[in-house]
Symmetry: C2
Subunit: 443 residues, 2 copies
């Protein structure tokens, strides 16, 4: 059992916060510039020197600063399944003239904002480095107004999107609900009878989608039997140790989840809900979530790259965190949301799908995320309930697709921030997004 | 250590012949129709029943009949690296009208030929089933005249090409020789000083390219220390056992190869030559063979799909057998060869590259392949020295790109024949190709 494979699942849950914080408290991490994987020299040379190698068996490949290389190279460590773009020509994104694009870039770089709890204003450009940004794309009224690449990411590269995967799973689920294929009032056991006496059995599909289930999923690192480690071991695609007797794969794990609290009482951010949703999606459609994401999204948004998704030892995609994709294709996905299910003159799903997500849930059930004080979580999307009606897909280490319907802005950031939890990154991100939105509205 | 991962390398070398033959001698294998993975039900259902699961840790996923599913799904078992097609629009292949295409299909299906050592003629269509064909594409004068899919393969799918990988590596090597970047008269130790006292050290680059090195690589299965098993263990991307002390990765293995015979004396089909060539290519270009294949081939032939390549535990691509690709993209590659390095109005490399390969080597040094009586092996391509001047990329279980310059025909077959060695498949393949070539020449 490789600890690094376990870490991937742990990281997708945002669960390694305590560990990361502890390590960072010792000393300030390298800056974005100093930890740039090209500067660090990771995997350069044929072969690279031993101290520049990043391998899955031998090293903790998903910890900072190696993380800054590995977020662009997950398929080189793990088995994966393709999310195909199909065989047709990509539909290019819409750009202003080069001169206008450069002017917009300069003006956006110079924007200033006050970080949450900050005392000094920060420029937009400085925030990109503060946040260890690997890629930043901003669309306004369907036109690209800003696009930059850093670190391991290039225009034709791909980046792990971590828990933004959940929002793709949730979007697929919401589409199936709107089409009447998945009944969100049904109980999980009605969809998956073999869920048995798992705590999930008596939750509704909607509670799973919104993560208001009452299910046990402990993240106490000092306990080797904590659920996070059991889940990681079940999910690992590596051969199980000879003496392993636990669940094999995501779905066997879900069959033995214990209850904790009552379904429907409150939002608890627990990745196992996303995989439970993924299983139900596959059951009612007869397709893997990768094939469905290809059929409903990637092959129809004019994508220019295939995406891919990590799988467990039985080929089940990690619906809670396994996707890697290109920056511009994620921009297409955000634009599809902003435009209520339409893209390139085609309607891919009913507008009510986006309306349901954007409306959000009950903020009174939502707590524990100080940088999102009035938020909610609906269909695996984060809803800010702010003046602009913004909502987002979010993943650890700074991944986001941020949709601002009022400003008609879609912003995608891919990043490799040293710490996992977005609570550390939001102070120099969310006010920056607001500043760009206001700039674009005044354009 | 998973035996299945080892098998992949073993199969790519054509080395499991003895084992497969033994097993098959017990009883006739299932027919192509009966072993169709959709008929077998492999991996159907969410989850599939236990007896329909194909997993890397638990089962021999690369043996017939599971092989018939796994050849289309290697990335779901193993870490891989992308061979990117780039971001542009694919260049569609040229087709006749649908009516003309259907007429050609009917006529080709009805062609008959006499199998090698056969007594009864066989139709072309029957040969597709006899050979467990998954995909067949034929281009004549640059136009697709025949295209069919079977088993696990579909138009938008991909298939393991096994040792045809070697021919991609060899083509890249020959391009670098023509450009003066790689000196084929140099000794390996001049290119890779740290090859040390490996038997490869004193071979020339050309001897490696043509597999006329005198290197030891035993395939005695009853000996657990046979080189084939040592290589497989070195190459496995899975974590090494705690007590493992052997070489780690393809390149460390190459550093400890022992001599056997004299360099230049004779052709010996040994996969380690291909990986030695891959290492030299990466050293002189500063690029992995995947990146170079993307830069020189996949991004420039109008490909419609990315390809991918399996890697060892250090991220080194398997230059001797790791590539998976789409049928039509392999057709584009064959057409590029037929047209001497030009495609879609662009010259990708000097014509002498193809001339060198097509001219072949010295047939007197070539032996051991009864179905290719006058053949030779040059730059990792098989040359038939027949009336049509045909040459081919070939991989176990029936993979081929067959180029017939006289008939201006390119034929690509992807297959999952129960036995590994093409010697079993050639009798119902090579005369069939000749029959199609003659039909097309009379067209």
């Amino acid at each position: 059992m490789s600890s690094s494979t376990s870490d991937l699942v742990a990281l997708a849950t945002g669960a390694v916060l305590a560990l990361s914080t502890g390590a960072l408290a010792q000393s300030a991490p390298l800056s974005a510039q100093d930890s740039d994987p090209r500067v660090m020299g990771w995997m350069q040379g044929f072969p690279p020197p031993a101290d520049k190698l990043i391998t899955q068996p031998d090293s903790n490949y998903f910890s900072f600063p190696k993380l800054r290389w590995s977020v662009c190279h997950l398929r080189e460590f793990l088995p994966t399944e393709e999310i195909s773009r199909g065989l047709g020509a990509p539909v290019p994104l819409n750009y202003p003239s080069p001169a206008e694009f450069a002017r917009l870039s300069r003006e956006i770089d110079a924007l200033t904002f006050m970080p949450i709890d900050g005392t000094e204003p920060m420029t937009w450009e400085d925030s990109l480095y503060a946040n260890y940004t690997d890629g930043m794309l901003i669309l306004h009224k369907g036109q690209v107004v800003y696009e930059r690449y850093f670190g391991c990411l290039e225009e034709d590269g791909k980046h792990a999107i971590m828990s933004m995967t959940k929002s793709i799973t949730g979007l697929l689920g919401e589409i199936l609900v709107a089409e009447g294929v998945l009944d969100d009032a049904a109980l999980v056991r009605d969809v998956i009878p073999e869920i048995g006496d798992s705590a999930f059995a008596t939750a509704t599909v909607r509670q799973v989608m919104d993560m208001t289930t009452g299910v046990q999923y402990s993240e106490n690192y000092s306990d080797p039997n904590a659920d996070i480690w059991l889940y990681s071991r079940a999910a690992s695609p590596l051969p199980k140790p000879a003496d392993y007797t636990g669940p094999d794969g995501y779905w066997e794990y879900l069959q033995q989840v214990k209850p904790e609290g009552n379904h429907g009482d409150a939002f608890h951010y627990k990745t196992i809900n996303s995989d439970m949703l993924g299983w139900m999606i596959s059951r009612v459609t007869g397709k893997s979530v990768t094939d469905l994401a290809s059929e409903r999204l990637w092959s129809r948004i004019g994508a220019e790259q295939d995406a891919y998704q990590t799988v467990d030892g039985k080929g089940v995609p990690f619906a809670g965190g396994g996707v890697t994709a290109g920056l511009r294709d994620l921009g297409r996905l955000g634009q599809l949301m902003l435009d209520g299910g339409e893209i390139n003159g085609q309607r891919l799903f009913p507008k009510e799908v986006v309306d349901t997500i954007a409306a959000g849930g009950d903020p009174s059930k939502f707590a524990g995320f100080p940088t999102i004080p009035n938020g909610s979580y609906t269909s695996q999307w984060w809803v800010f309930h702010n003046d602009h009606g913004a909502y987002a897909a979010r993943g650890v280490h700074g991944q986001t697709i941020y949709v601002d319907p009022t400003a008609q802005m879609v912003l995608v950031r891919l990043a490799s921030f040293p710490q996992a939890q977005n609570g550390f990154i939001d102070p120099t991100s969310l006010p920056a997004y607001q500043a760009v939105a206001e700039y674009l509205m005044a354009r």
